[in-house]
Symmetry: D2
Subunit: 351 residues, 4 copies
């Protein structure tokens, strides 16, 4: 039995971690950390857990926790983990961090986009970026996994084969992303009230969203050259789901011929054929967030526009599952030698 602790258990990602881990046959949750609800019953914060979780919420004391569990999940505000994590903890437990603290290798980039000082830069190098489909082997050996952001997971997986295979011009990438409102978290803000979000759509953080450098870094590795791109998130009146629509110019080969649909499809198959959680849809079928809701799948597909010589790439996933808690569990499975899909095998919920 893997003993797990969750820090930040009462945010939406923490709640989803609880839901998924409860269904994992080899995991036992030992600690529900939530500074705001200390000593309150977890099931009084998330009433779906009534009769399922009897524990009360506890403080976020990482040192104490590290003596009692095998793995710690941190679903905490940016900067928190970096300020408390140290070698002593890492020598005792494995950590899957759902915050952004160890995702970006260049600490200056982190500090610029997040506007805070990084308190444990010495740990960044040892952290593995936990995008399982791409970094599987490194994750298996990792002590500290930086669980990818929701937008980056969907964006990177949608574009990865194209950059890896040199099928697009990396300087032309535009990512237009749409997210359900659970991505905005559970804190009480007027802008996230039902009446403000319902019957509404808007872009936000235009040209300045913090997931931009994370996407750029990972796509740079794939492209083997620095990638700068536009990333625009939108808030959609739904609870769950992220849809990415990305655009790029196709790169002609030596004979000036553009990649064909068949060639592009072959590239996607090359990387994802064996992947359980990435589904390359049949030609002509557009991904829809509803078809992956509640599951760990990412559905991807593309359409070539011969008129403009661009490719339109689409990816859909559940932001709380593959975009957060599901991927965190997938990472844990890899780190602990479990089957990669253990506890993650449910079909998406429809409708």
């Amino acid at each position: 039995m893997i003993r797990a602790g969750i820090i930040g258990a009462t945010g939406y990602a923490g709640g989803e971690l609880t839901r998924i881990l409860l269904g994992h046959k080899n995991v036992e949750i030992k600690w529900y950390g939530s500074k705001s609800y200390i000593d309150q019953k977890y099931a009084s914060v998330y009433r779906n857990m009534f009769c399922l979780v009897e524990d009360v919420c506890r403080d976020d004391h990482l040192q104490a926790l590290s003596d009692q569990v095998d793995v710690i999940f941190t679903a905490t505000p940016q900067g928190f983990l970096a300020s408390v994590l140290d070698e002593r903890i890492l020598s005792k437990v494995k950590v899957v961090d759902l915050s952004a603290d160890y995702r970006i290798k260049d600490v200056a980039v982190y500090e610029k986009w997040y506007g805070i000082e990084h308190k444990s830069p010495q740990l960044i190098d040892g952290a593995v970026y936990g995008l399982c489909e791409i970094n599987r082997e490194a994750i298996k050996r990792a002590r500290l996994v930086a669980n990818p952001g929701c937008y980056p997971t969907c964006s990177i997986l949608s574009l990865y084969p194209l950059l890896k295979e040199g099928l697009i011009d990396p300087s032309t990438i535009i990512i237009d992303a749409k997210s359900g409102t659970s991505g905005a978290g559970r804190s009480a803000k007027t802008a996230n009230l039902f009446c403000e979000v319902n019957e509404n759509i808007k872009a936000y953080s235009v040209t300045g969203h913090r997931h931009t450098p994370e996407i750029e870094e990972q796509l740079s590795y794939a492209a083997k050259q620095p990638v700068l791109l536009n990333f625009t998130p939108h808030l959609v009146p739904m609870n769950r789901g992220i849809l990415v629509t990305a655009y790029a110019s196709l790169k002609p080969d030596a004979t000036s011929a553009l990649p064909t649909s068949e060639q592009v499809r072959a590239a996607y198959e090359r990387y994802y054929k064996e992947e359980t959680f990435v589904r390359v849809l049949e030609p002509g079928i557009c991904p829809e967030t509803k078809w992956v809701e509640g599951s760990n799948y990412v559905d991807v597909n593309f359409q070539i526009d011969p008129r403009t010589k661009r490719i339109v790439v689409m990816g859909a996933m559940d932001n709380l599952v593959k975009g957060a808690a599901g991927q965190a569990v997938q990472n844990m499975n890899l780190m602990f030698g479990q089957k990669e899909d253990e506890g993650l095998r449910w079909a998406p919920l429809f409708p």
Copy 2:
């Protein structure tokens, strides 16, 4: 391995059956019946099943099917099963019928409310009303289970202890129910278009909904006297969920004293304490459909109004799970000696 066939696999209840049975470790789905989609891939009708179901849809030939499986689930229009079911089929397989064909013992009542002739009234007596919490032992021995309607499941479980214990006056019951739109089915009607349902609420079938006699019959058994009541369903702009708000006058005892909250609570505990899927909430907590979404739970609670001497009873559940496919699987588990909650143990999805 229990071999299962689904007739009506492409309606919403059929889709939910598929989702649940795919996660049941002792069941294998052998037949996806759907008259409208014969020879089409099931996963092209329900794209959440892409990579999970490879089968194509087949005709609804019950005789052929009964040679290949151990259990048949019928999620078909009213009257269909009654017109094709016979002893020969029942001698070979067990049947869980999600339609209303065998729910009502008095065939005249069925024919009046449904407006169709019943083609196999001789089978009604042998059918067991599949409300597991109430008819558990009979279900275990049944060949044919009439899976309860969605509204009846929630209404009956919410009121059952009160009538069984004689705590309310059966002639005063009023049930005001609210359902998500999946209850209206997947057929293309203008009234169910997004723009017509969204930002809207309405009552429908006022004083004439077909679930009325089903609720009345079952509550009559509990009250040991005939029950007539008002049942009003409403359409709510959400996908899943049923909320029942029921009203009744409390019955004074010999000394004219009304039942207290403690007495009522004790009555609920008496019937549901050992039940996995009925959760009696803590005092003062109102059931919400969101807290049971995607799960087989029914959350119930009540509030006494000393001013009017009435009790207000509330019940919430997922209409497609406990109100249809989940309960059908719960019935199958009982009929086949499985653990009652096998394949039904996931926590509700939130948010």
Copy 3:
């Protein structure tokens, strides 16, 4: 030109008042009061008003305001107006109060249900309950109008003819009401976040909602006897709209005959035939909130159940218009000798 001031202009009801008054040809808004946004541009709080309102928000100083306008609308928290209103103000301006401070004649009832002390009970007697269809003449002469609550408006108008004509037994009334989320106001609470309300329905304040005594008082006047009833509000995942479904036992006449549908319809026509804003729908048509959205209409209808000898009454309206700001303007029109429907003549928005 009627000069108007709004206190509480940045709540949802205040915003709706602004929208309606901007379209009223004989009104000029002179004062946007909002304690929380003093000196901020009103159009930065409600961006729909960009280019339409240039003013900034001001303090809620009633004495100062009373020298500059002809009418004050107060859309403020319970107790505020009662604590500042006095004869001096009322001698200078007319007041339409959208809070509950002057709706209930018995100050003890007010203090019990609202849990606060009433600071100006001497003004209650002079206040007129502003349900235009019922108190029209008194409103015309009023200095202080208590604008009815949203639930009471819909509940009372739906049931009024039945009680006035003695067609139902007043001791049997049950009101099950459903409201859009704008009724919960614009303050930032977790329970009103999009993800908590969306895909969810729940009852709240069961047996204890503050609108109960207001409804009871007004229906008592109609019934000419004290009325106690059950009122249960529900929160629905939509922005606007209230639907009331009410139940009562029909009262037999001297010969024990129950009222017929025709007699009931005739009663409704008697009271509402000449009313612009109450639409008695055709037989069999259930009111839907969507059909009145954005307008000042209340749609009502009923269905008799001969089995249970009860009547089911339904009413639908926009909670922010007829349930708040629209009715306030209708009251103002009456108080100032304007056409009653001035500024209120737009058709409902659909879809």
Copy 4:
């Protein structure tokens, strides 16, 4: 009094035309044409019009209609108007066509994208593209106005100043658009059912949507060179609203300097400062569809990304108003010498 006839009065755009024209003080609707509902009361199709419209629906006989009215609005399927319109009709009445039949000057382009033969190509030249802010003077003199598509209206108005002033490279334009579901029309299709659209977002018609050549043609006029672009529409779970997010590379001037935010803002002001219905938002404020709901406004703004040297342009409007019926009435106002905003002066509805 302008006498108006509506052909296609029972679609969503036709319903909105009715709503708007009922509030126009100088218009009288004489004919509600709807082939599907002939002889049925219009208010039984759109119950919001109960007590407001007494007429029944009539056939779509343009010749008969042209003798009785001054203006005909056609909200009909593609190809219908082209197949019945002729000189005789145009000599008697003015026509505002909400279909695409006369929007595209090159008949071959129309026939290719719409897949139908154009039956009256001789009338195309005389038709004026009814984007009021751009073709105002021509519209005033027009007999036949081609009312722009919803996506084109929002896309063109968002990008127009940039192309007109040469601030962007026309070969780099990408338009990612999001629409509420009323844009999909009122016909009963499974894909538009509540349960399929709710909690879902998807792209559709990727690289092949029919509004693409319409946008390209109009932007080509502005750019004074042919424009090819990518246009991707998405379906959003809301009733009304279109949001356009467009991307383009900024064009450096002779000194290789890129346009500054101030220069771009000045360009927008140049074209829209005097326009009632285009609101250029304050710096940093992103357009949201909710802030324009139910109104004829288009809110636009932009953000420059110095890292990628691109500009992100955003536009939001109500697809049924400025994107259809509102703009049609604005066109009618121009054609008949009315004030341009007559009947269109209501503030947006919020929330």
